[in-house]
Amino acid sequence: MFVALRDIRFAKGRFALMGAVVTLITTLVVFLYGLTGGLASAASSSIAQLPTQDVVFGAPRGATPEVSFSNSGITPQQEQAFAAAPGIGRVEPLGVAMSRLTGDGGATSVSVFGASDDLLPPVLSGAAPQPGQVAVSQKVADDGRLRVGDKVSVGGETLTVSAITADRSYAHAPSVWTPTATWSRVTGAKQPNALVVDPGSADVAALDTAQNTRTVSREGALAGIDGFSAEQGSLQMIQGFLFAVSALVVGAFFTVWTVQRKADIAVLKAVGASSGYLVRDALAQALALLVVGAVTGAVVGFAGGAVLGGSGMPFTLGAATVAVPVVVMVLLGLAGAALAVRRITSVDPLTALGANR
């Protein structure tokens, strides 16, 4: 990297400009990563963090079961069939509906879950809800200034707050949890939407066929949240475009840079530099540029993310939020640079001699 480092030092304006571009793209990708994670959490944390392995969606006879919480319904017969299956572990009905919670502090949209105590998120204060009671997420409690023992109205029914749980949300609405019977009363639903199961050694496929149900993993069930896949897909597509743009920009920069260095490359080859040496030197130069640019972008993105996360925007800030964009940026940028610097191999050292210059 002897020549490469000195080239950077000599042409610092050009490399600083390119490094700034890499920094900006990385910052943008880190923001998008954090936002994607934050939105995913806001849309799905109640399902994603269920203490179970699989989720079963059901349909009545003659209809095709689909992975959709809003379109699914579990009949008592289906629930009983799963519960009675040999070798099966946990089987719990799960009801999900959107509603409005009104308390002394005002009204807010909530996702109402009907489930047993076993599926409740960690309780921060109070006790698991009994019939006529509701456990509310921390955010609902904070926004509505609710405490354990307060009365709230959910779907026209008056319920007592029995517990405040860790924050969970579904479809961007904070979640509240109540027993299945109470859930049916406040939402007017006659059936739970899904079953959560730990299949154990049970033949789930056979059960699905026999009961007209569809069993998917907990992660797969996230696609059943309205708008989740479209939202995540859009953000991930933007991330993909940004990565592609960064690879193209870095590739274009090193293409121009390599063309400008053609005479120097010819001289180096004439005095005994192998193509391999020159390609390694150029790639090391690209790596240095990418690492410095991407790490700077990650630091800026991390700091910006911390500010955004603190302002209430759905933003997940973690090691992966920062590390993944940096690693992908560096690898794709390096791939772009590799395509550009391969033309080094075709530079003819003969052009260094006078008559051919």
């Binding site: 002897f2 020549v3 000195r6 080239d7 030092r9 000599f10 042409a11 005479a263 120097d264 001289v267 180096l268 080859k269 004439a270 005095v271 005994g272 530099a273 192998s274 040496y277 050292p349 003969l350 260094a352 001699l353 006078g354 008559a355 051919n356 210059r357």
Partner: protein, 227 residues
């Protein structure tokens, strides 16, 4: 002999036919011998240099560098031969803009897998021996005069202690006085370093320092003219 070219034939494609650049050229240069090759533009001087530098493979004939048959070498081996045994003084100084004079030489050490820092003193000493002193060793090409750049060019060619030194029109960008100094320097270096030197030039005024002068006409080395 340090450099032997025997019966070299080199042709280039020229439309539907082939143009003969070198037509049965034979030349032997001993260690410490300074040979000048003169001739008009297009006579084949640069082609001769390119073949001797292993940058072009002739259609026929043999090139021996230090007794080694270049024709039997792979491309990678020819590259290594240029790096270790052949020094080239380019017509334009062809220095890398980003490197100081010392670094131009250190870069060659890096090519050979040596640590550049370890050869810094030797590089400075070599630059001083070609007349580059007073801190000019640490200047970049654009901070040096044309003559100074040419001295760095020569020092770079000598740094690997080559057995063959190939010099391509070294005075073309210099005035007469500086050109004379550079040619004198090349003659001295040839004797001191024991290189087999071929200098290609069209400037007949610079031939006094040469041990032998040959004339290239239409791809053939004609009988020597008095130096």
């Amino acid at each position: 002999m340090s450099l032997v070219l025997s019966d070299i034939v080199l042709t280039y494609p020229d439309g539907d036919r082939r143009l003969t650049a070198l037509d049965g050229v034979s030349l032997e240069v001993a260690a410490g011998e300074f040979t000048a090759v003169v001739g008009p533009s297009g006579s084949g001087k640069s082609s001769l240099l390119a073949v001797a530098a292993t940058l072009l493979t002739p259609d026929a004939g043999r090139v021996l560098v230090g007794g080694q048959d270049v024709g039997a070498l792979s491309a990678a081996q020819r590259t290594a031969l240029r790096r270790d045994r052949i020094g080239i003084v380019f017509q334009q100084s062809n220095l890398l803009a980003s490197l100081t004079a010392v670094e131009q030489l250190q870069a060659l050490a890096h090519l050979r897998g040596e640590k550049p820092r370890a050869v810094a003193a030797r590089a400075e000493s070599l630059l001083a021996s070609v007349g580059l002193t007073d801190g000019k060793q640490h200047r970049r090409p654009h901070q040096l005069s044309g003559g100074e750049r040419q001295r760095v060019n020569i020092a770079r060619a000598l740094f690997a202690e080559p057995s063959v030194l190939l010099v391509d029109e070294p005075t073309s960008a210099l005035d007469h006085e500086r050109g004379e100094q550079i040619v004198g320097l090349l003659a001295r270096i040839t004797r001191e370093h024991g290189t087999a030197t071929i200098m290609v030039t069209h400037d007949k005024a610079q031939l006094r320092a040469a041990d032998r002068v040959l004339e290239m006409v239409d791809g053939r080395l004609a009988e020597a003219v008095p130096a």
